[in-house]
Structures are given as C-alpha cells and as structure tokens.
C-alpha cells in the first residue's frame, strides 16, 4: 500500500477537456470516493493513475516516486473496470488467478488456489469458478472483476463503479465487505461511484468532481453539511436538495440568490401558519418513509415525511425553513 499523489493533471481528448488541473492526494490506507455526474472525468482520473492514459500536463506520484511516464505494469495498481473487461476465453478462476500467474512472481499454485477461493467466497461466486467469463450474469461478471483486483495487494486499488450492476441487497452486503477488507488490509482505495450512499458510508474522504474539475474534497460530513457550491450540494442528500429562489422566502443574507433546502431544513405543518404555504402534489410511499412532492409558488419541492402524518394530494401545508444553505448567482456558497 502506498500514498498516491495526483499533481495538477490535465487531460484532453481532442476538443473535450476531460480533466482540468486535478490535484488529489490519497493517503496510505485511505479510502477516497470520487463522486460526480456522468462524463465528469472520473474514469479518466483512474485511467491516468493506472497509466492507461498519459496526462497532457501534471504528474502522478506513487509512494513518492514519479510514475508519470511508467507503463501500467510498473505502477502496481489494481483496476476494477467499469465495463468489467474480463478475459472472455478464460474461466472465472483463471480470470482471478491471471495477475498472480506472472512467471516472475512465482506464486505457488496452492497459494493461488487458496487466495482465489477465499476471495470468491467473499463475493459469493465460489460456485462459478469453473464457468467461462462469458457465461455469467452482469452482476456476476462485476464481482469477478472485483475479485480479480482483490486477489492482489497492489499499491492502490482503483475501482470504477464496482457495485453498479448489483441488486440492492447484494450491494449493501458487498459495501460492508469491501469496507471491512479495506480496514483489515489497510488498503488504499480510490473509488468512483454515482451512489451517494456508497460514498457516504465507505469513504473517509469524498471528492466531488464535475466537468473535469475537482469541486471539493473533504470528509462525508464536510461535503454534506458544508458544500462549497450548489453542484456539490446537489450531489448528496436523498431526496436531492431543493434549490429555490431566495425571494420566495424572506431573511436571506446579502448576495444570496438561491436557497438550498434539504429535508432537514424544512419543517412541514398542516394549515397556513409557517413562512410559506405549499400544496401537496403527490405522495410516494417508500415503506419506512414517504416522499412528499410539493408545489411552492410554482416551484417543485421534494421532501421527506412520516407516512403516519397522512398527507394526501391536494392538502395545503405550510413550510418553515430552518438554517438552510445559501448560494450566490453563480452557485457559490454565501455564509448565512
């Protein structure tokens, strides 16, 4: 395991600027998640660290050593590819053993077998070891791709949306497993995801990336409670933060154009004695909680409600804000 530093790296593909001036340090044994919308440059960042792409500018250091020009093999990284990239002509076992089989490494066959079986059990694919990689479901392929990385002990694990094809139950389970492995091994992981729950629960720090730029990096708490701008704020929170014109409510600080109100910033009550009144348009029952779709002065607002509260479409309610976030005209945070 090692510390990995990305120093002002830029990368363009033709006229697409995939990454601009990205700097990021992943400490030894740290779990960093990259969160961002599609096309943000997350995969590109991982590929640059792995050496599958060369940066236009900037450098990459692993354990203090500049590896910018090095081939992937010399960087000792493990990669879980977004599109799996399994060897289609090999069995699941051979796929997972491939990296251990390098002639120079001379890992004894019995050790390889034991390691692959251990990881396969962890990922619930131990019965599929003799299948060809093409005779698997998407979720199974994805787990083989994870397994292929986990059998190694590289300087860093690069994981590109490794749980995206799994069902909710398995995803929850593997989230815990991966976190446990990371803690046990003291592994360094850079983890790309769309899923905020994964980022919030697994990462020690989250980097929010958008349009090839790192918007903010910090602990999940910092990112959630103290987003630097509206983009970052919109990344976290379920349901997503409601961005409303400041004029709709009174009491915004100078310069604030937009109010960002998460569920916990909104208090709902029946009747019309709050700051603003709203109409319930629709109620989505999710079991333990309900999503309340409101209409506030023609603006849609989504918030959580207790299913017991018994709101129904057409009800008139009142909203009260409590310590929401404020953003200026360009989306940057304004202190309350």
């Amino acid at each position: 395991m090692a510390e990995v530093e990305i120093v002002s790296v830029s990368k363009a593909f033709g006229r697409t600027q995939a990454l601009s001036d990205l700097s990021l340090t992943i400490g030894n044994g740290e779990f960093v998640a990259l969160l961002g919308p599609t096309g943000a440059g997350k995969t590109t960042a991982l590929r640059l660290i792995a050496g599958l792409e060369q940066p236009d500018k900037g450098s990459i250091r692993i354990d203090g050593r500049d590896v910018t020009g090095d081939a992937p093999a010399d960087r000792d990284v493990a990669f879980v590819f977004q599109q799996y990239s399994l060897y289609p002509h090999l069995t699941v076992f051979e796929n997972m053993a491939f990296a251990l089989r390098a002639p120079t490494r001379r890992v004894p066959e019995a050790d390889i077998r034991a390691k692959v079986q251990e990881i396969a059990r962890l990922l619930h694919i131990e019965t599929k070891l003799d299948n060809k990689a093409t005779q698997l479901s998407g979720g199974q392929m994805q787990r083989v791709a994870i397994g292929r990385a986990l059998v190694r002990s590289p300087s860093i694990y690069l994981m590109d949306e490794p749980l995206s094809s799994l069902d909710a139950k398995l995803r929850g389970e593997l989230r815990l497993e991966l976190k446990r492995i990371q803690v046990d091994l003291g592994a360094t992981i850079l983890y790309v995801t769309h899923d905020q729950t994964e980022a919030m629960t697994m990462a020690s720090r989250i980097g929010v990336i958008e349009g090839g730029r790192l918007m903010q990096i910090g602990t999940p708490r910092e990112i959630y409670e103290n987003p630097v701008n509206a983009h970052v704020a919109a990344r976290l929170g379920q349901p997503a933060i409601n961005l409303l014109p400041a004029a709709l409510f009174g009491g915004a600080p100078a310069g604030a154009e937009t109010i960002g109100a998460r569920t916990e910033h909104l208090t709902i009550a029946r009747g019309a004695d709050g700051d603003v009144s709203a109409t319930v348009k629709r109620v989505e029952h999710l079991g333990d909680q309900s999503h309340l779709h409101l209409d506030v002065g023609g603006r849609p607002v989504v918030t959580l409600a207790d299913p017991e509260a018994g709101f129904g479409a057409g009800d008139v309610v009142s909203l009260r804000l409590n310590k929401p976030l404020f953003f200026d005209a360009r989306g940057w945070r304004v202190a309350a």
Partner: protein, 319 residues
C-alpha cells in the same frame, strides 16, 4: 421464441399481404409456406449437385468410358476401389498431395499470422501495406501460373536471379520447375506467395476481434507483452487461424490449375498431385469408371478429414 414468431407472423400477414391474397393463403400453414419457398432451391441443388454425385458413385462401380458411350456397361462391384487402394502410383500421388498441403498450409499460416500481427499494430501506412499484400490473392491462378513460369526461367527469370544474387551460385545452374527435388518446393512457394494474404486477412479479422480493453486489463495485471501474446492474442485468434487452415487445406487438397500450369505434374511424377492423376485418368485415358472411383475416394477423404477438423474447431470455440 415461439410467441415471438407467432406475433411476427401476424404482423407479416397484416402488413405485407393484400387482403385478397391473405384469404387465399390462409389455409397454408407456416411450414407449408416455408417448403413452398425452398423447394425450387432444393430441386436445383438436387439437379446440379446431388444427382451428379449419385451418378458418379454409380459409374465408379462400372467399366463405363465416356469416349465409348455405346459399349454396354458392366457392373464391376468394388473392383476399381480395390485396385486404386493397392496401386503404388496412387499412393505416390497422395504423398505428393500431402506434402504440398502440409507445407503450404504451414508456411501460409505462420507467415499469414505474422503479417496480420504486424499489420494489426496500426503503424503509419498500414492500410496501403494491407492492399499491397492482398494483391497476389486477387490475381487469377492462370495468370499466376504463367507469371511464375517466367520468374522460374533459369536464364532470364527474376527468381533465379535473386537466388543467385544472394547465394552466389550461377542463376542458370538450377531449374526450379525441371528439377526432381526442387519442383515440389517451387509449387509450394508459388502457392504461399499467392495465398498467404488470404490467411493474413482471416487472421487479421481474428486479431481485430480482440477488444483493446482486454489488453488494458492484462497491462494492469502486469502481464508482459510475451505473456499477452500467448495467453490472450493466440488463444482468442485461434478459431480464426483454424478456419484459415481449414479453408486452405481443403482448397489445396484439390489443387489443380496452378500445378497443371507450372509443371503439369512433372518432372516425372514428382509434382503429380491427386487431382492431376485424376484428370489424366478421366480425360486422357478416358477411364471414367476408374476415375469416378478415385474421385469418390478423394471426396470421402477430404470430407472425413474436414469433419474431424470442424469438430476440433468447435471444441476450441466453445472452450
């Protein structure tokens, strides 16, 4: 599957067929319609493929001669087969054929795959090189035969000149087509020259079918280029290579035109491949029954070998 075809059937009837016709063919089941469509093709195939084959089988048991059609034919049973299979000349021809097939296929596969591997690296101008390399394959065998007859000319031929240039022996001191030991190789060289591009093309298709991301995964897995070649490139391209070997093997087993043009089977019978023996028996000696039997033996041999080979190919593919 069944549901799907049922619904598409309905759509076809509704969309493709005018109401009047639909009413008239409503009585026909899908199966009947299918038969209706393929029957003409089947009849044509029967007439030009199956009937001649059966007729040849029949003739192979008789003493029929095409140049004496009036002589009453006598049923000989398996006599021809017995005499062919015990004839040392036939076995010699088979050996010449085997030598020719094995060496051409071997050389063409190694060179063809090698060229494909180089071309696949996408260096500058690889498109132009591909076209140039493919040229020989696009020529007619008759042209190639004549063309190489000139190249092999001991006095004025370019081939002899080039060999002389590199080895220092006199150009007219050897005759590629007239020498007992050299002439089989002369033919192998021409066939390799002409058909290596074909093998290259098939191998190239195989190499292009391997996605780049597999090599990326292997790079990250720290596989050397050497290991990538042996454990990814070769196994994944193998079905294509085997297909090329099958095509070239069958084609060269029945090779006739080029050998006939270059050496006509000579000198002596050193390049007399089976098809030349067959042609001589059939159209020079007019032993129609005998040559029919020989043709059937060749057919069964190729068919049997090809079948075994295709089984192996399928095993590789499903591995």
């Amino acid at each position: 599957m069944n549901e799907l075809s049922a619904s598409s059937r309905i759509t076809y009837r509704a969309v493709m067929v005018r109401p009047g016709v639909a009413r008239r063919i409503r009585g026909l089941s899908d199966k009947t319609l299918a038969w209706l469509f393929i029957t003409p093709t089947i009849l044509l195939l029967l007439a030009i493929n199956i009937f001649p084959l059966l007729w040849t089988i029949y003739l192979s048991f008789t003493n029929y001669r095409a140049n004496r059609a009036n002589v009453p034919t006598i049923w000989l049973g398996a006599d021809w087969y017995r005499s062919i299979l015990t004839d040392p000349d036939i076995w010699a021809a088979m050996q010449v054929t085997a030598h020719f097939v094995i060496w051409t296929v071997l050389i063409e596969t190694v060179l063809g795959f090698g060229l494909a591997y180089l071309i696949d690296k996408k260096f500058r101008g690889h498109g132009m090189w591909t076209t140039i390399i493919l040229l020989p394959m696009m020529l007619s065998p008759a042209v190639v035969g004549n063309f190489w007859t000139f190249l092999y000319q001991p006095q004025i031929g370019l081939f002899n000149y080039v060999v002389a240039f590199f080895t220092g022996r006199a150009a007219s001191s050897f005759q590629m087509l007239g020498d007992v030991t050299l002439s089989p190789w002369a033919i192998v060289i021409v066939d390799a020259w002409m058909w290596t591009p074909y093998v290259m093309l098939i191998c190239l298709a195989g190499l292009r079918s391997i996605p780049d991301y597999i090599y990326e995964a292997a790079e990250v897995d720290r596989a050397t280029k050497w290991r990538q070649f042996w454990s990814i490139t070769l196994p994944m391209a193998l079905p294509f290579i085997m297909l090329a070997v099958l095509f070239r093997g069958i084609e060269n087993f029945k090779m006739f035109d080029m050998v006939n043009l270059l050496t006509g089977g000579g000198p002596g019978s050193t390049t007399e491949v089976a098809s030349i023996t067959l042609k001589r028996a059939a159209f020079e000696s007019w032993r129609t029954g005998y040559s029919s039997a020989f043709a059937i033996i060749l057919f069964v041999t190729v068919f049997g070998l090809a079948n075994i080979y295709v089984k192996a190919l399928n095993r590789v593919k499903s591995r």
